[in-house]
């Protein structure tokens, strides 16, 4: 029997007997519920207030990015990669760029690597800040959003300064980065590195010992290390279960091996553990940013290959060859040797990978985004089992799925 109880929520009695003597109720949670961080629908069987079964239904934000990528030229795909995990575009750009560079067989210069690291770590912080702010709202600390978005805005200002865009930066592209960092960007970054540790202390002062926050997260959504590994979780979900797996350390890329930072882990295996991991990660990111800024090498920010990247603007006025290259690149694009490659980076959510297949033409044959959120949503039932409905909100929150990343 299905009853409509208003606000788009329908309740179905399953006829099955629950432990508390009543029937199990099937509830439709979402897809437009604010705590689902997008459009995630959960079909939940409730026994009283407790979750007995949970089935995520996804696809409401499917935008066909992989199909679209097949219709674009190699350098144009960068723009669509921005849009799957829309809270952290540089990671998407970077995994795609690394995969294409693998096929092209090129290495980017050190300054490009350092700028890539800077953009990625800034984005890791801004992505964690969105998570922290929205989780704060859901768990009864509504001021968190104000604090977090204040700092996020300074990061968006930096994005704008370096790439011209606040969110979808498309800054990292195969062969290097879009442009060199401006002096103002470096100044803003320096100021940010000085301020951010104090700001993180502020967040911690509000939440870490906050009795309401602690009782809503400690012991909630337990995911033991073994389960996390079996279910394929990556990122803070895995590290929050005590597994020190971070691609930046485990399988370094873009020069991460030269930075001194710690992998944040927590043995608590619950929502609170994942919170601690993300806070620690923000601190470590600031450390990396400081090192990258102080040791920023000089030199070009792009590979010296006119077939892959356009010539500098000033050359166009003096060199016929530059004009030809420019014309060929923007009408035909470049070709990539046939083959396939997979590259993965550690995003704020976990392993953000890109698998590209080339058939030797100027468009990819297949681009597959291995998104962390898609995999990290699957342990949801394991984590929410036998918890209250209200705890489900904390659990979805700390899974930190971006629905654009889930549905691509």
């Amino acid at each position: 029997m299905t009853t409509e109880i208003g606000q788009g929520i329908t309740v179905t009695k399953t006829g099955e007997q629950g432990a508390f003597g009543g029937e199990l109720l099937t509830i439709n949670f979402g897809p437009h519920h604010p705590s689902t961080h997008g459009v995630l629908r959960l079909i939940v069987d409730l026994d009283g207030e407790q979750v007995r079964r949970l089935k995520p239904v996804i696809g409401y934000l499917h935008t066909g990015i992989e199909k679209q990528a097949e219709a674009l030229r190699w350098q144009q795909v960068v723009v669509v990669t921005d849009r799957h995990d829309y809270l952290s575009p540089p990671f998407n750009n970077l995994s795609y760029a690394l995969a294409v560079e693998k096929l092209l067989g090129v290495e980017v210069p050190p300054r490009a690597n350092a700028l890539r690291v800077i953009m990625c770590e800034l984005t890791r912080i801004s992505s964690h800040l969105v998570w922290l702010g929205t989780s704060g709202i859901e768990l009864g600390a509504s001021t968190m959003l104000m604090y977090c978005f204040r700092e996020r805005d300074t990061i968006l200002d930096m994005n704008e300064e370096i790439s011209g865009f606040r969110m979808h930066t498309s800054y990292i592209r195969p062969g290097g980065v879009m442009a060199d960092a401006t002096p103002r960007f470096l100044e803003l970054l320096d100021r940010f590195c000085n301020q951010m540790p104090g700001n993180i202390d502020e967040y911690e002062a509000l939440l870490t010992m906050n009795p309401i926050f602690r009782s809503r997260t400690i012991g909630i959504g337990r995911l033991p290390a073994e389960d996390a590994k079996v279910l394929g979780a990556t990122g803070p979900m895995l590290r929050g279960s005590g597994v020190p797996w971070d691609l930046r350390k485990s399988m370094p890329y873009s020069g991460y091996e030269s930075y001194d930072f710690e992998v944040a882990t927590s043995d608590l295996c619950d929502c609170y553990g994942r919170y601690l991991v993300r806070i620690k990660e923000m601190r470590e990111s600031v450390k990396i940013l400081r090192q990258a800024l102080d040791g920023l090498p000089d030199g070009p920010v792009n590979i010296d290959d006119r077939k892959v990247l356009p010539p500098p603007r000033e050359e166009l006025e003096t060199s016929m060859e530059a004009v030809i290259h420019h014309f060929k690149l923007f009408t035909e694009g470049y070709t990539v040797p046939a083959g396939d490659a997979y590259a993965a980076v550690e995003s704020g959510r976990g392993e953000n990978g890109c698998y590209v297949v080339s058939d030797g033409t100027h468009k990819p044959r297949r681009v597959k985004f291995r998104s962390a959120s898609f995999v990290n949503l699957q342990p949801l039932e394991r984590m929410a089992m036998n918890h209250m409905v209200a705890d489900m909100v904390a659990i979805i929150g700390t899974a930190d799925a971006v629905l654009g990343d889930v549905d691509r």
């Binding site: 996804i58 696809g59 499917h62 066909g64 992989e66 199909k67 679209q68 097949e70 219709a71 693998k102 096929l103 067989g105 590994k229 079996v230 279910l231 394929g232 797996w245 485990s250 399988m251 046939a338 083959g339 396939d340 490659a341 997979y342 993965a344 392993e351 990978g353 698998y355 297949v357 058939d359 030797g360 044959r365 297949r366 597959k368 291995r370 898609f374 995999v375 949503l377 699957q378 549905d407 691509r408």
Partner: protein
């Protein structure tokens, strides 16, 4: 340990090691690799080689499994080539739980049927969608924009994609 007679071919593509196995042996090969320490299924997907000019692929669909050994930090790619209508291959969700959604996605996007999958339904596209969008013969921009006035249904995918 994966025995050599399961492996049809092995090679390296852009620095990534791969092996090709016969589609009927996929479950056995992945089971052996899991025993070997490749415990994480990074992703599972399909590549449509329709009208590939190189002619080096034995079948139209290539199912790709990427596995990682978290101890030795090695990756291995397993390929299986399948044909048929619909193309069929064994499910590996019992070996690697994350394969559950990946296989549903591959079914949704390519129409590959994973035998033994507990719930092989569409995951990203609407349940009543016709066709499999990531196949190369499925047109880009073929669908009418929803809410436009001229159409009766927004479902305009070709009957036989």
């Amino acid at each position: 340990m994966i025995s050599d007679n399961l492996i049809l071919e092995r090679g390296v593509s852009a620095g990534d090691a791969w092996i090709a196995v016969a589609p009927e042996n996929v479950h056995m090969a992945l089971g052996a690799l899991k025993e070997e320490g490749y415990r994480l299924l990074v992703f599972l997907t399909c590549v449509d080689h329709l009208a590939d000019s190189s002619g080096q692929f034995p079948a139209r669909f290539e199912v790709v499994y990427e596995l990682r050994n978290m101890e030795t930090r090695e990756l291995i790619r397993v390929r299986a080539f399948i044909d048929g209508d619909p193309p069929r291959i064994d499910s590996v969700h019992d070996l690697f739980p994350p394969a559950n959604w990946d296989e549903r996605e591959t079914f949704d996007m390519f129409g590959v049927v994973f035998a033994g999958h507990p719930d092989l339904t569409r995951i990203l596209m609407p349940d009543d969608w016709v066709g499999h969008p990531l196949r190369r013969d499925f047109p880009v921009g073929g669908e009418v924009v929803e809410f436009s006035e001229e159409h009766e249904t927004w479902q305009t995918a070709p009957e036989k994609a």
